[in-house]
C-alpha cells in the first residue's frame, strides 16, 4: 500500500467512528515485535478509542524463546574454541549462567553479525575456530539461516554449525486459538513474515476460527489503518483476511524463500515461553543437514528450566497481563538490568512499555490515587492503560 495515500487523521477518524458504533470493548492482537514497538513509539495506544485494545502477542523472537533454549545458546557461546555469531537482539538475554554479553566479558568469543553469510565467511576464514550461528526468529529470518547452511555446504565449510530455535507463526496462532488461551476479535498480521509465507497461508486458520485479520506494514499509518479496518470489520461482523500490505505481500509469498527453508529445515515440535511445547511450531534441520547441527556436534541438550522467579513474561506475551502488573517491572527489571526477555529485547513489550508508556502509566496511577473513586469517570484510564 502506498504510504502517502493514507492520512493518519482520516484513519483515526475511521477508527473512532467504527469503535463508537460497536458499543462494546474489542481487542485485537498483533504478533510481531516490530508492530509492538511501532505502535508504542508512535503513541498510537493513546490515540485509540477507550473500547479498542491492541494486545502484543507472541511475536517478538527473543521473547518467545524458551529459557531452556536460551541456556543452551549461552552454553554454546561459552565453549572454548567456539565463536558464537548472533543477531544483536540475543546478546543480553539472561540464562541460568548469565547472558552472552556477560560470557563475552569473561572471555567468550561472541560476535554480532548483520548477515548469516558473514558468519559463514568468518568460519571459512578461520578454519581453526568452531563457528556457531544462533538461528532465532520467525519466517522472516529462517530463509537467511537456511541459506547459510546451504552456503556452508556448498563451500564445504566444516567448522560452521547452527543452533536452531526458529518458530512458525501460524502453528502459534492455532495453539493460542484452539486452547482458548487468547480471546480476541482479530489479528493484525505481520507484513514481513507475510512476505515470506504469503497471505494464503493464513486462510485455513481464518476460516476455521472465523477470524478478522489484516496484514499490515510497519509505518505508523499502516498500523493505524490496519487497526481501523479491523475495528470496522468488528462493527460490520466481517470475518475475513484482508491484505493491506499489497503489493509487497502476495497470496503465494516468496516461493524461493519457502523452498530454501524447506530444503534445509522441516517442521518440529518446539517449546515456547508461556505456551509450552507446540507440535510442528518450529523448524529443525533435516537429517541430511544434521552435520550442521550445533546441538549435536557439541552435545548441548535442552533442559527446560523454570523462568526467573517473579517474571511474568509468559503472561505478557499472551496478553494476560500488562507489564505494569508485573512486580519486577521498572523496579528489579529495567532495560539496563533486565530479568525477563520481554525487557531485554528491543522488540519486547516490556521494554517498549518502559520506554514509551511508563510515564503515562505512572501519571495515571497518581491521578487514580488522588481522585476519589466516586468521582472518577467510568472510562478513566482505559485509553492509556488498557
Amino acid at each position: 500500500m502506498n504510504v502517502s495515500s493514507i492520512r493518519i487523521d482520516q484513519v483515526l477518524q475511521r477508527l473512532h467512528s467504527a469503535a463508537g458504533a460497536i458499543g462494546r470493548a474489542v481487542s485485537f492482537m498483533e504478533v510481531c515485535g516490530t508492530h509492538t514497538v511501532a505502535a508504542f513509539r508512535s503513541g498510537l495506544h493513546s490515540l485509540m478509542p477507550a473500547n479498542v485494545r491492541l494486545l502484543s502477542g507472541p511475536g517478538c523472537p527473543v521473547c518467545v524463546t524458551s529459557q531452556g533454549d536460551i541456556d543452551q545458546l549461552i552454553a554454546a557461546g561459552s565453549l572454548p574454541n567456539v565463536t558464537l555469531c548472533t543477531y544483536g537482539d540475543m546478546l543480553r538475554v539472561t540464562g541460568a549462567n548469565g547472558s552472552l554479553e556477560q560470557a563475552r566479558s569473561r572471555g567468550a568469543d561472541v560476535r554480532v553479525v548483520y548477515s548469516t553469510l558473514d558468519a559463514v565467511r568468518f568460519a571459512a576464514d578461520n578454519p581453526q575456530r568452531q563457528v556457531v550461528f544462533a538461528a532465532v526468529g520467525f519466517e522472516t529470518t529462517a530463509p537467511a539461516s537456511a541459506a547459510a547452511v546451504l552456503e556452508a555446504a556448498h563451500l564445504n565449510v566444516k567448522n560452521f554449525t547452527v543452533l536452531v530455535s526458529h518458530k512458525l507463526i501460524i502453528p502459534a496462532m492455532d495453539a493460542l486459538l484452539s486452547s482458548g488461551l487468547v480471546k480476541v476479535d482479530g489479528f493484525l498480521l505481520p507484513g514481513h513474515v507475510s512476505i515470506i509465507i504469503g497471505a494464503d497461508a493464513y486462510r485455513p486458520a481464518v476460516k476455521q476460527y472465523g477470524l478478522s485479520c489484516v496484514i499490515a506494514g510497519f509505518e505508523d499509518q499502516h498500523i493505524a489503518a490496519g487497526l481501523a479496518r479491523l475495528t470496522e470489520m468488528a462493527r460490520d461482523g466481517v470475518r475475513q483476511l484482508e491484505n493491506q500490505y499489497y503489493p509487497a505481500v502476495t497470496d503465494a509469498g516468496n516461493r524461493h524463500a519457502q523452498q530454501v527453508i524447506s530444503q534445509v529445515f522441516e517442521p518440529g515440535d518446539v517449546t515456547w515461553r508461556g505456551l509450552g511445547t507446540i507440535p510442528g511450531s518450529g523448524l529443525v534441520l533435516r537429517p541430511q543437514y544434521a552435520a550442521f547441527d550445533a546441538a549435536q556436534r557439541f552435545g548441548l541438550p535442552v533442559q527446560e528450566v523454570p523462568e526467573p522467579p517473579g517474571c511474568r513474561c509468559g503472561e505478557v506475551i499472551l496478553g494476560h497481563c500488562t507489564p505494569a502488573e508485573c512486580k519486577l517491572f521498572g523496579t528489579a527489571c529495567t532495560p539496563i538490568r533486565a530479568i525477563g526477555p520481554c525487557m531485554v529485547s528491543s522488540e519486547g513489550t516490556c521494554q517498549a512499555w518502559f520506554k514509551y508508556k511508563r510515564t503515562a502509566s505512572a501519571n495515571l496511577q497518581a491521578a487514580h490515587v488522588q481522585r476519589p473513586p466516586a468521582q472518577r469517570p467510568a472510562t478513566a484510564g482505559q485509553g492509556v492503560d488498557a
Binding site: V3, C32, T34, Y87, D89, T140, A144, A147, I195, A257
Partner: protein, 79 residues
C-alpha cells in the same frame, strides 16, 4: 530488530552477490531469495538478504517515512 526489512536499491550484482544502496550506504546483500532481481531494482532487504522486489514509488515513500522517523528519534534523543 529481527524482523524489520528496509528498502534499498541494487547497484551491482554478480551471480547472487549484490551491492545495494541503503540510504547512501553501500551494503553487501544476497539475492538468493529474489533471483529475478536486477541492477536498478528496489528491494526489501532483511539481514543481508533481499526478500522482495518493490515498485520504486513504494520504496521512495517508505524512505520518506523512515527519514521522518529518524528525524523524530533524533529530536527526542531516543533511537
Amino acid at each position: 530488530m529481527m524482523c524489520l526489512a528496509v528498502p534499498a536499491k541494487l547497484v551491482a550484482l554478480k551471480e547472487t552477490q549484490g551491492v545495494a544502496d541503503l540510504h547512501g550506504n553501500r551494503v553487501d546483500i544476497s539475492t538468493l531469495l529474489v533471483p529475478e532481481a536486477k541492477v536498478g531494482d528496489w528491494l526489501l532487504v532483511h539481514a543481508g538478504f533481499a526478500i522482495q522486489r518493490l515498485d520504486p514509488q513504494t520504496a521512495q515513500e517508505t524512505f520518506a517515512v523512515l527519514k521522518d522517523v529518524e528525524a523524530a528519534a533524533n529530536a527526542g534523543g531516543d533511537p
